[in-house]
Amino acid sequence: MELFLANLNLTFLIASVVKVIFLTFMVIMPMVAYSVYAERRVSAVIQDRVGPNRVGMPLTLLGFKKDLQIFGIGGLAQPLADGLKFILKEDFTPRHVNTFYYWLAPCLTIVPALLTAAVMPFGSELNLEVLGVVQPIKMVIADLNVGPLFIFAISSLGVYGIVIAGWASNSKYPFLGGVRSSAQMISYELSLGLSIIPVLMIFGELNLSKMSIYQDANGWLLLPLWGDGLSASRWILLIPIAISFLVFTISMFAETNRVPFDLPECETELVAGYHTEYSSMKFALFFLGEYAAMIVGSGLCVTLFLGGWSIPFAPVLSKLTGLQFHFEAGNTPLLTGLLHIGTFFAKVFAFIIFFIWVRWTLPRFRFDQLMKLGWLVFFELALANVFLTALLLWLVPLK
């Protein structure tokens, strides 16, 4: 026991707990809430409507001159009102369900979605010498050396939540939704997994933080404009990377059940799909899980292809301005660290807006089209891409 206590790294433990709480409850949860708000507002403006604009932050009550607004648009407290509504609503369990699995399903949807966030490097390092912490703290909860594999392993568990929800509801529409969802997620997991193999080959690395550091110094995979990125091999490798990016992004839409692949919950055919029988907070958990999966998926995409937390042209900017914008192990100023965190979430947010934008642009695919796209196009494309990358890496090796 004493040995155990002596070996306990207290700084690491406290830092981890703080990071977990910060990332889960102060970043991902509010981000989910505000993605839902963004979804409602963006869908509204796309369809020439107004959207929820009434539930404002009543700063006027506190003596301010105006209520808080972004770009002259109010309604910013709508997510709080939504959350309150979900908590206060009656939690109804229908008689005909299998109660145990019915209660289990929402948890199985949200837990994997939040777990995958653990390996996401959401910032470089925070140098907290002001608070008396000697070592800079890495802005990732678990700096695993198998980052992407961990994410795939855990996020594929998310399908259980949906399947169990569909089955336990004991009614036909949820059942059909669950069946569709399992087929879809299993199919697209293949192309999703295969599509990032070229990227991993290029990095020669499975650690997401090291990938970000490499991209910070040598140009993003999709934007090789500084450092080693200016080499010929990186530019030639843009071809397989672009294919990877395309396949990965579209598969991610399918994995997260978003339009145009939202067949598990298509309203016109299946009422609400697998969560038809759910109400109140249990329904909210499905919703949270779906959006959290979206955020983590976007985070992974950003980390792999768009430089993660790195500021575009960081080394060039540092040279031009004399301030430090790039990452330097153990020697990154606090402000730069904070800026890196902000950059990461800005990128993720932009991605989510893109998700929403696509949702309100495209109609839904038919189920056979979806399966055909997954098995006959993306699977082969991703597989061929692996060999293409191998060939290119052999012909024009990276430094």
């Binding site: 403006v45 107004v50 002259g72 648009i73 934008w357 642009t361």
Partner: protein, 181 residues
């Protein structure tokens, strides 16, 4: 029967794989988003009416069917004679009338009856206007008010006093006051 053969449009390869069409779609939605967003910024919405601040009231048509109400004539006399025709015709049975007698000392005792109680349950009312149509004395009218609210069921029942309050005065000839008839 004449047949019209509709040719399927010939699609280019980039249209077949949704590439150019996807971009086109994104452009359309973005255009709408930006246009609507600009109008939203100054709260000057073009299509949507911001309800409690903006209202249709002055643009309501003459035949608008709002809440039903009783009216008095220019001299403050009740037009209703409590014949109960509206009570009988009312499809959702929202109206309840208890007829009362006009005392013989009243100068208008000749009319004989007026309602002692006249309740319209606004939770039941369907605003069909049949009461107005059936009334032989032009005593009940559908007004242009539409926002009827209350915190209890009892509050949503309009009694006689409230009905006259909403209805107000209406001028025009009604036969029953005519001395010669």
């Amino acid at each position: 029967m004449a047949f019209v053969t509709v040719e399927r449009p010939k699609l280019a390869w980039h249209e077949k794989i949704f590439l150019s069409t996807f971009v086109k779609g994104l452009k359309v939605t973005l255009g709408h988003a930006i246009r609507t967003f600009k109008t939203l910024r100054g709260s000057k919405t073009v299509v949507t009416m911001q309800y409690p601040e903006q209202k249709w009231d002055d643009q309501l048509p003459e035949h608008y069917r709002g809440v039903p109400a009783l009216v008095t004539d220019e001299q403050g006399r009740e037009r209703c004679v409590s014949c109960q025709l509206c009570e009988f015709i009312c499809p959702p049975k929202a109206i309840k009338i208890i007829p009362g007698e006009i005392p013989s000392t009243d100068p208008w005792a000749k009319v004989e009856k007026r309602p002692a109680e006249f309740d319209i349950d606004m939770i039941r009312c369907i605003y069909c206007g049949m009461c107005e149509e059936v009334c032989p004395e032009q005593a009940i009218f559908l007004r242009k008010d539409y926002a009827v609210t209350g915190e209890s069921r009892a509050e949503m029942v309009h009694d006689k006093k409230r009905l006259y309050e909403i209805g107000g005065v209406r001028t025009g000839l009604v036969n029953k006051w005519n001395e010669l008839k």
